[in-house]
């Protein structure tokens, strides 16, 4: 049996892995998905990503590429078939990279805070920050989409993939904290976008349902609690 030229080390519950899957699907790239047990990391993972020991890792012709944002850009640069993931105009590319960094470094970490925060007041404060971020992203959506349906315009692009891959966890967060984060009144564009983006062929069946993710989280928290009490 021939060894696959493209392998993806990942775990389905990871939004960072999901974004690479969406990018690979978008470009119609055949690949082998190697499921990682994050509680018992494989030698291949530890060898391919010795610095962070994290998924996803894309292995292309035996060469590992780490960090989801850079994997997606790599895919876009190597497989030049349509559709393009990043915009072609340098200013639009800069805008896309700016928002991807904002989403990953400033916005999504708020969900970790939301999970850990104690007390209704503190929780409300974090929720407010998340919604403020969504309002910024709503403005970004209006500017980037230029009247079309995705951040990338007519077809899904970089920011659609980066933000879209978090939607499972966003919905899980809404359920666990009993709050509505994506609100028709505040962020109507994003509400419509969120319904649309995961129905796209490339993204279909990639991002897990929120209940599945909640179960994964509960299992992880129980295992951590057990480990710390032993």
């Amino acid at each position: 049996m021939a060894t696959s030229v493209v392998k993806l080390l990942g775990a389905q519950s990871s939004p960072y892995v999901n974004r690479v899957q969406i990018a690979l699907n978008l470009k119609s790239i055949d690949y082998e998905f190697i499921n990682e047990n994050l509680a018992a990391k494989s030698d291949l993972l530890l060898k391919s990503n010795p610095i962070y020991k994290k998924v996803p890792v894309l292995i292309h012709a035996d060469k590992p590429i780490c960090e989801s944002l850079f994997i997606v850009e790599y895919i876009d640069e190597v497989w030049t078939n349509s559709p393009s993931i990043l915009p072609s105009d340098p200013y639009d590319r800069a805008t896309a990279r700016f928002w991807a960094a904002y989403i990953d470094i400033k916005w999504f970490p708020l969900f970790g805070e939301l999970r850990q925060v104690k007390g209704e007041e503190a929780k409300a404060a974090v929720v407010e920050k998340i919604v403020e971020g969504l309002v910024l992203l709503e403005e970004a959506f209006v500017k980037c989409s230029k009247g079309e349906v995705y951040f990338g315009g007519e077809s899904i692009g970089y920011v659609d993939i980066i933000l879209g891959s978090y939607l499972g966890w966003v919905k899980a967060g809404e359920i666990m904290a009993s709050v509505k984060l994506l609100d028709e009144t505040k962020t109507p564009g994003l509400v419509g976008w969120a319904e649309r983006v995961l129905l796209n062929d490339a993204a279909k069946d990639v991002v897990p349902e929120p209940q599945v993710l909640i179960e994964v989280l509960n299992k992880f928290m129980m295992a951590s609690a057990k480990a710390s009490s032993n």
Partner: protein
């Protein structure tokens, strides 16, 4: 370095002590792009900064035909993609580009915060000792990255200064200051021979010389940052 720029219409809102601003200054120099340098006032932050970077309110901000681009890593790639004549910053091979981006993120997300921890945030012997251990380890990782990326040549970028040279090199003034303040050499012939040789070559380049600050000049800025941090935690 200020020069009148009409054809390209480039302005940089930055600060002379800021390594992130220095990163862009060196890139513009390397590409021979004339630009106007606008020194940010900071206390309080200027109207221009708040208007052009409302999300992060931070320098540097590059203005190209009055359109702002924020975040130094985003700006570097923008410069490389728009001014394509002459020297490229990022490698041409896609795999090498992915590796360069990976190490740039490591330097910004792991190495530099360790340096800041050592020089600004760590208080007391134990904390300083722990911070020193972290920066030494992170520097060893960067030495490894240099070996991998340079492939025996003079710079991270190979024969010429490139993306990673800028991303790491912009911190040299602050690295030297940290060594003075803590009394420990972070770059040594025995532990980081590659980087020691690289520093000499990088620092002597014309595009770099006028930009990277002498540690003594940065001392006042360091004192200011420490005072601000202490004030915010009392």
């Amino acid at each position: 370095m200020a020069a009148s720029s009409t054809a390209d219409d480039v302005k940089l809102l930055g600060g002379w002590p800021s390594p992130f601003s220095n990163r862009i200054q060196i890139a513009l120099n390397l590409k021979s792009i004339p630009y106007d340098f606008i020194e940010e006032t900071f206390t309080p932050k200027s109207h221009l900064l708040l208007k052009s970077n409302p999300v992060h309110k931070q320098i540097p901000v590059l203005f190209h035909h009055d359109k702002p681009i924020c975040e130094s890593i985003v700006i570097l790639q923008y410069i490389d993609e728009v001014w394509t004549k002459g020297q490229s910053l990022l490698p041409s091979d896609s795999y090498d580009r992915a590796i360069a981006r990976f190490w740039a993120a490591y330097i910004d997300d792991k190495w530099f915060p360790s340096l800041r921890q050592l020089t600004i945030f760590a208080q007391g012997e134990d904390a300083i000792s722990a911070a020193l251990k972290q920066i030494v380890e992170a520097t060893a990782v960067v030495e490894g990255a240099f070996a991998d990326c340079s492939k025996g040549k003079a710079y991270f970028g190979g024969d010429k200064i490139g993306y990673l040279d800028l991303v790491f090199g912009c911190f040299l003034g602050w690295l030297r200051l940290a060594e003075k303040v803590v009394g420990v050499d972070l770059l040594t012939e025995t532990k980081t021979p590659g980087l020691v040789g690289w520093v000499e070559r990088f620092s002597s380049n014309d595009a770099v010389k006028s930009v990277i600050q002498e540690p003594e000049k940065l001392m006042e800025t360091l004192e200011f940052l420490k005072a601000m941090f202490n004030a915010s935690t009392t």
